[in-house]
């Protein structure tokens, strides 16, 4: 039940965004993809989410041939940097969206959906905000709603693309602590993209440092910090 990313490559036109990235993450682990902009971390995450197609390489998750499945059937919750909440829906409708679009035989009853929304809002520490619209929330609150929405579908995998990038330092810290707590609670394999090394090291079980579409070093935060394997990694970590 682990996630195996094997030599995944992707070009945008002639620009190689990913040059054969590989890593293995055990089930339920929390992986950070860390690197400067243009290192391919977001592209790799979007490929995992089914929002971008890989040119070559394979991804296996549990016993699934992950890249052959469309985004819709992967059941991977995705959290975007700019929240991507549905502006015209209330917080409750945003969170319930993934449940309401299910085919009838798999759709929970309205009462169950309502109960689930209440639970999720409590989990992300926004109880009672069901009837607000996204425009009435602060950035940090919006991202909490986006997280609740991604968790509502009981995802097999949680993918976060610089989720705290647009927030101030204090809110970032609160949110990453909450994210780790929620991850441990849900036990879902999580891949988290960031360019902030402090954030990556504070929250993840495993860190992949990326450069030019490749993974330069992959390992536990303490190991990577103690033994940077390339000059780039040691320079990036000391910056």
């Amino acid at each position: 039940m682990s996630l195996t990313v094997d030599t995944v490559a992707k070009k945008f036109g002639r620009f190689p965004a990913l040059n054969g990235a590989s890593f293995v993450a055990p089930q339920g682990s929390f992986v950070s993809l860390l690197g400067p902009s243009g290192s391919g971390k977001t592209t790799l995450l979007r490929i995992l989410g089914g929002l971008e197609f890989a040119d070559s390489g394979t991804v296996r998750f549990a016993d699934l041939n992950w890249l052959d499945m469309p985004a819709r059937t992967r059941n991977a919750g995705f959290v975007f940097q700019q929240y991507a909440l549905f502006k015209h829906m209330t917080v409750a409708d945003n969170i319930a969206f993934g449940l309401k679009v299910r085919p009838r035989h798999r759709r929970p009853s309205n009462a169950d959906i309502k109960k689930r929304v209440t639970e999720l809002l409590a989990l992300v520490q926004l109880p009672g905000l069901e009837d607000r619209y996204p425009s009435q929330l602060s950035g940090g609150q919006r991202q909490r709603v986006a997280l609740a929405r991604a968790l509502a579908i009981e995802p097999r995998m949680l993918l976060l693309d610089e989720p705290f990038g647009a927030l101030d330092a204090k809110v970032r810290k609160e949110l990453r602590t909450d994210l780790r707590r929620i991850h441990d609670h849900a036990g879902v394999t999580t891949v988290f993209v960031t360019h902030d090394q402090e954030e990556a090291f504070a929250v993840a079980d495993l860190v992949a440092v990326m450069k030019d579409g490749r993974i330069e070093q992959y390992g536990a935060p303490a190991d990577v910090r103690r033994n940077p394997r390339t000059p780039f990694v040691s320079e990036f970590l000391s910056a």
Binding site: H88, F97, V101
Partner: protein, 283 residues
């Protein structure tokens, strides 16, 4: 403390009054006065004369034909406009800028030329003229030609309204919907459509106004057969040319009334959903 200088975005009072007066004078002389005169002329011979002019069979036929042409052209161009805006905003493909230019074509080409194109294609001497005549299909100087010309001229309205809106909104919400398990159709219905509904409404209203009012292109393909292929604008021209001023102004007033009703409808919706509109503009 007294004010020592104006804010950078503030203009002196005389300039504000002057600009306001220019705008109001312009609107009054060029827009409101002619419109008022149309209605005044229509009522010149009293209400019963107006009623007789409206009940004239040829006038009623022109109203019917205009409504048919708009009734076909507007839904078709709405579907087309959504499809075009969707593909331009949400996908990258070669020839995209060319497609946008093509959509603008009916705006840049004179409507008379648009009409002539259909004469060239479907006319007796045109490309398909022969085979159409052999099969007894009438396009030119008949309702199909009028509908085609109307579609051509009103082609860009919905697409033009939606493209900048959908490009601006990006693909994030659609991507989010896909990762949450929504099908393409569910995404369109529950996410895209609610986000574009106001732009879509304006596009449809503009498209409808133009479809009812189109003169040039329709005039070329119509053949001006009284009571058969005359739309309202053509009928106004015909009555006017025959020195039937009362009749001409009556139909003109009807046409103007349809346009005013459209505006009232739009304002009502804006007033009714003011909160929602404001919320949509906040980010």
């Amino acid at each position: 403390m007294t004010k020592r200088f104006l804010k950078p975005t503030e203009d002196p009072l005389w300039l504000r009054l002057f600009l306001g007066a220019v705008a109001i004078a312009f609107i009054a002389v060029l827009l409101l006065l002619p419109l008022a005169l149309v209605f005044k002329e229509a009522f010149a011979n009293g209400v019963s004369a107006l009623w007789t002019a409206i009940k004239e069979p040829d006038t009623l036929a022109s109203v019917r034909l205009s409504l048919i042409a708009a009734g076909i052209a507007v839904p078709l161009n709405t579907v087309f406009g959504i499809a075009a805006a969707w593909s331009i905003a949400k996908y990258d493909f070669p020839g995209k800028t060319f497609l946008v230019t093509l959509i603008d074509l009916p705006f840049s080409v004179s409507p008379v030329v648009a009409g002539l194109i259909y004469v060239l294609v479907f006319g007796a001497q045109g490309w398909f003229g022969r085979s159409l005549a052999d099969h007894d299909i009438h396009i030119l100087f008949a309702v199909p030609g009028i509908v085609l010309a109307t579609i051509f001229v009103t082609f860009p309205f919905v697409a033009r309204e939606l493209i900048p809106l959908m490009v601006d909104q990006g693909r994030d919400e659609e991507e989010a919907a896909a990762t949450l398990g929504a099908t393409g159709f569910q995404t369109f219905l529950r996410v895209t459509l609610p986000n574009i509904k106001w732009g879509l409404l304006y596009g449809v209203l503009l498209c409808n106004a133009r479809a009812l009012g189109e003169f040039g292109a329709v005039s070329v393909v119509s053949g001006h057969i009284r009571g058969v292929t005359n739309t309202m604008p053509l009928h106004v021209q015909l009555l006017y040319d025959n020195y039937d001023y009362a009749g001409a102004f009556t139909v003109a007033a009807l046409l103007a009334l349809l346009a005013l009703l459209t505006l009232v409808f739009k304002s009502l919706l804006e007033w009714r959903y003011a909160d929602e509109l404001a919320a949509a503009h906040r980010r």
